[in-house]
């Protein structure tokens, strides 16, 4: 019976973490955007405006939940929950450190990939349920974009799986450091099994995965509807896209899902390409930096730092690049990223057969 209680505690902990991260993420986003645009951002509420998002969430909790008269009520109410749950379920399979994973799935990566795609359905539900032309246009754009970008993302992931030979995220993580069971080679020629550090990360084990990582990162921006791929909620033309009609707590849930999605896709990217919970510090001769900085606690610290860096890059890109037009977005996906991802997959096969 005890492990059921553990499951509940872990589930609640993950929910609490995603809520906290959303609070922190919104604040960081405001400060980052302010820095990039040479403004100050929130300054009034708390020291350096640090209580601004708490104030916002308090305001949202008090707001009336408005349901438009012509909306399909059931779909309208259920949609934000489905959007958030789809993202939240994805966290179940992600490893945080050696031996620290909520659910040991041997199909972990495939499961995460599958569960993320449900978010599209929630977005379509919100768009249709709102009975609003902006909402439905936003939802359709979002669906078209997510379905298209799943293809290059999928092939970038497959090229990692071909190198790693497993779908278990914990095994993929363990391969990229000093805890690996097999010999790890830096760029295919230098044995770094006992050196570890960043030399053993997937992007350096097989350098073509660097390209795959960039493809995955671009596709993950599109899948979480972030700028420059935020045409589903393009505020200059669609008001706010699929969540135009949402107020109060439901609107907060949509935002919670967006920030959790940012963290989730970054974390999957870190696990697949950037060494997961492994330390970036290598063993140099008698200085066993990698051995000293590997462990459950260190694992959480490393994966959190790496993931937050990727989230930071997502924010940086959002406030630097202008929004794509629909045709440019599709051209980039089908004519640039998809062929490149196919090439990566091919090189992965050759690499695995001849160099590992």
């Amino acid at each position: 019976m005890n492990f059921y209680i553990t499951y509940f505690i872990i589930a609640i902990g993950l929910f609490g973490f995603s809520a906290l991260f959303a609070l922190f993420g919104v604040y960081a986003e405001r400060k980052v955007s302010a820095f990039i645009q040479d403004r100050l951002g929130p300054t009034e509420t708390g020291k350096y405006g640090s209580l601004q998002t708490f104030a916002d969430i308090l305001k949202m909790l008090q707001k009336e939940l408005i349901t438009p008269a012509a909306a399909d009520k059931l779909l309208f109410i259920l949609a934000p929950a489905i959007i958030f749950i789809a993202v939240y379920l994805g966290f179940a399979a992600l490893p945080w450190g050696p031996g620290l994973v909520p659910a040991k799935l041997n199909l972990g990566l495939y499961y995460v990939f599958a569960i993320i795609s449900i978010e599209t359905l929630g977005i379509l539900m919100a768009g249709w349920g709102s009975n609003n032309k902006f909402a439905i246009l936003g939802a359709m754009r979002s669906a078209a974009q997510i379905i298209s970008y799943e293809i290059p993302a999928g092939f970038a992931i497959i090229s990692v799986v071909m190198i790693a030979q497993t779908l278990n995220l914990q095994d993929i993580a363990a391969q990229q450091g000093i805890l690996a069971n097999e010999t790890t080679k830096f760029a295919g020629f230098w044995d770094v099994s006992s050196i570890g550090g960043f030399f053993a990360w997937n992007v350096f084990r097989a350098p073509h995965l660097l390209v795959a990582f960039v493809i995955y990162f671009i596709a993950s921006l599109a899948e979480s509807n972030r700028a420059p791929f935020d045409i589903p909620e393009a505020e200059s033309e669609l008001v706010a896209g699929f969540h135009t009609e949402y107020t109060g707590l439901r609107f907060a849930l949509v935002f919670l899902a967006e920030y959790s999605m940012m963290f989730l896709v970054s974390m999957v990217g870190v696990i697949l390409f950037l060494g997961a919970w492994n330390t970036p510090l290598p063993n140099i001769g008698p200085v066993h930096l990698a051995t000293w900085t590997t462990g459950a606690g260190w694992g959480i610290i490393w994966i959190a730092i790496k993931t937050l860096t990727l989230v930071g890059i997502q924010m940086w890109i959002r406030w630097t690049l202008p929004r794509f037009r629909v045709d440019q977005l599709m051209t980039l996906c089908w004519k640039v990223l998809t062929p490149l991802a196919f090439a990566c997959m091919l090189i992965s096969g050759v690499w695995r057969l001849w160099l590992m």
């Binding site: 495939y110 599958a114 795609s117 359905l121 768009g127 009975n131 439905i136 799943e150």
Partner: protein
């Protein structure tokens, strides 16, 4: 009843009840969203049958792909068209429904016949597999098994399907091209 059985009956009930709703409701969009629940319950049943790879594939392909594309087509068609389809009057028994009723009835007869004739607890091939230990255990890895079988035992069907998909892709590309002169 152990937990697995409770889960089986729960998911079987959800699957059948939502499937009945999908077939019976007049609101087409809601029936599509209900179909999503049917597919999820089916995925759960696959997991209980130790076919976790099939379960996740079902979610990727049906929920993430086909269902979204169906919804896409719905949204392009507009609410008025959908309402007219929903308002088509139909009596429960009419001459138009005769073939469907006949088919469903005959199928029911076949199914009932199967259930009564089949002795599910003592199937020959199941017993044989148990004796020779040719079976999948909860902790055995499915992906390798499926991959090796696809590339050896079932290579011909696998390749035939890939050719079929290729044909479909070429067809779709041909249809979507701008016609020069019809």
């Amino acid at each position: 009843m152990n937990l697995a059985q409770v889960l089986f009956y729960l998911m079987a009930f959800i699957a059948t009840a939502s499937a009945v709703f999908v077939a019976a409701t007049k609101n087409l969009v809601r029936s599509i969203f209900m179909f999503f629940i049917t597919l999820f319950a089916l995925a759960g049943l696959y997991v209980l049958a130790l076919a976790d790879f099939v379960a996740i594939t079902q979610i990727v392909i049906y929920v993430g792909g086909i269902l979204v594309l169906i919804l896409f087509a719905f949204m392009l068609s507009g609410k008025e068209t959908l309402n007219t389809i929903g308002e088509l009057r139909s009596k429960f028994i009419s001459i138009n429904k005769l073939p469907a009723l006949l088919l469903a009835g005959l199928f029911l007869v076949v199914l009932l016949n199967m259930i009564f004739k089949l002795d599910a607890d003592n199937l020959g091939w199941v017993k044989k597999a148990q004796v020779t230990h040719n079976m999948i255990l909860p902790n055995s890895s499915m992906t390798e098994n499926i991959g090796i079988n696809l590339m050896t035992k079932y290579l011909l069907p696998f390749e035939a399907i890939s050719v079929l998909l290729m044909v479909a892709l070429v067809g779709a590309a041909h249809l979507s091209r701008k016609g020069r002169s019809a």
